[in-house]
């Protein structure tokens, strides 16, 4: 049985198609996923992300514990700011990609993917044991609503006194939204400007309704996981389970810059990652745009157009509203020569190789 979020009844009343995702019952879409995708690009979309994990690490040595547990240097994170980082296994494999918020000098909130949250909480607990720090998984009591898109700030500004224009990308500040206590963060997974609002579970439904009402004049619409996936794919953002896995290191994923070898002390995965840091990976994450209209999907082989030799594998693929053609991210051999195709159920469909991301918003 998948678990409902606090917003389940809201989704049902909106006629959402619900789906099991990482053990949670989540809205896949409310109507047309293309319309939801386009609303986020042109106006704003409202997302229930309450399935994400929120794990608090607090105490005098909270920063030291995270510096040991994660590949990033969280001790240098300013209060009120957030950072994208990863938790790796001893062998350097990625266990999850994370956003860590420093809420106070001795208080951090680690946001983990739903599918990995229990494992991340368990690993953090084990890794923090030698430190004067407490790990507390609050995933069940914290709800998360995101409002994303070029009109997001205008909409949110009608419900809060918080200094939104002063809130930088990858920053979060406590405030009230529609009268509810919230951590207001300028983060997202869509390639647009936008905010993520962490609130107590019981506040999620009234906050959703307040945002919906405030967004009416701005063409805000609810958006499901399907739109979220196509938005992040266009923005070239990795998804754990697709572009990231415990079989890949951050270097394999082209994210070696997240690994801070110069931070003090040892960290889990350091030795293994030091061994691979200067070894060019065999495959590189690559952007593909289909010439035709068939859609490449996770797991499909990438082949040489000339002779069909397999030179890679699609990690994510979808029709792209912004480009008008299907797109994919794929790991492709760095030494692959010549035009490429994707093997779509036996048919080699030609692709163009492009730089990531596929889509970049206009500033």
């Amino acid at each position: 049985m998948s678990r409902p979020t606090p917003l389940r009844e809201v989704h049902e009343s909106l006629g959402a198609t619900l789906t099991d995702f990482a053990g949670w019952l989540m809205p896949l879409r409310y109507g047309s996923e293309a319309a939801e995708h386009n609303a986020v690009r042109s106006a704003a979309g409202l997302f229930d992300l309450s399935h994400m994990g929120e794990i608090y690490v607090t105490g005098p040595q909270a920063a030291d514990a995270l510096d040991h547990a994660l590949v990033g240097h969280l001790g240098t994170l300013d209060t009120g700011r957030a950072r994208y980082t990863m938790i790796c296994a001893d062998d350097g494999g990625v266990l999850d990609d994370l956003i860590v918020y420093r809420l106070a000098a001795e208080t951090f909130m680690v946001v983990a993917n739903a599918s990995n949250a229990p494992r991340v909480a368990a690993e953090l607990t084990a890794r923090a044991r030698p430190y004067d720090a407490v790990v507390d998984d609050r995933s069940d009591s914290v709800a998360l609503i995101a409002i994303q898109g070029p009109r997001a700030q205008e909409i949110l500004a009608t419900l809060t006194d918080a200094d939104l224009p002063g809130l930088k990308y990858y920053a979060g500040l406590p405030g009230t939204v529609a009268g509810f206590d919230a951590l207001i963060a300028r983060t997202g997974y869509t390639g647009e400007d936008g905010f993520e609002l962490f609130v107590a579970g019981p506040d999620a439904t009234p906050l959703w309704h307040a945002l919906t009402k405030a967004g009416e004049p701005y063409a805000l619409r609810p958006a499901g996981l399907s739109a979220r996936d196509t938005l992040r794919l266009e923005a070239g953002m990795p998804l754990y389970g697709n572009e990231l896995s415990d079989a890949l290191t951050p270097f394999d994923a082209g994210l070696g810059r997240l690994v801070k070898f110069d931070k003090p002390g040892d960290f889990v995965g350091r030795a293994a990652l030091e061994r691979v840091r200067d070894t060019p990976p065999r495959r590189r994450l690559t952007g593909l745009v289909m010439v035709g209209r068939r859609v490449p999907r996770h797991g499909y082989p990438v082949v040489l157009r000339q002779d069909g030799t397999i030179v890679g594998e699609v990690t994510s693929g979808a029709p792209s509203q912004s480009l008008g053609r299907p797109i994919a991210m794929a790991y492709v051999d760095t030494d692959a020569q010549g035009p490429l195709a994707v093997d779509i159920r036996g048919s080699h469909e030609p692709v163009d190789v492009v730089d990531l991301p596929f889509y970049r918003r206009k500033k």
Binding site: R29, S32, E33, V295, P326
Partner: protein, 129 residues
């Protein structure tokens, strides 16, 4: 609850069939229920006109944002027409599944297995919607 027209017949693969009562030409499309389950349809691959098909054969594909599904011929015969309009604008499968969104037409050759009535198809889909 999605529309299930009384006058059509249906398959367990969520296709509708019309024309069986009137002669040997069957028109086939996907049901509104299936279209809703699929979400936005982005690509439709149809068979070649003139192709000979057997009953239950996978002869095309309907792709949505999230999935790809085979299209089956519910009858044996020859493909006599395909809907080029829906190839150009696959969203017709969502907006008008029983009209402009039709997929292909078969000249039936031989006996046809029994298809589902509207009532039977309603029973089939009411459990899992």
């Amino acid at each position: 609850m999605s529309e299930i027209p009384e006058e059509l017949q249906y398959t367990k693969e969520h296709e509708w069939v019309s024309g069986l009562q009137d002669g040997d030409l069957a028109t086939v499309g996907v049901t509104a229920f299936a279209a809703e389950q699929l979400g936005d349809v982005v690509f439709v691959q149809l068979p070649e006109v003139g192709a000979t098909v057997t009953e239950g054969e996978a002869i095309g594909e309907v792709e949505s944002t999230k999935s790809v599904n085979d299209v089956y011929s519910p009858v044996a015969g020859e493909i006599v027409a395909v809907n080029d309009t829906v190839s150009d604008d696959p969203s017709l499968v969502n907006s008008d599944p029983y009209g402009e969104g039709w997929l292909f037409r078969v000249r039936i050759d031989g006996a046809t297995s029994e298809l589902l009535s509207a009532a039977e198809y309603t029973a089939l889909t009411s459990g899992d919607s």
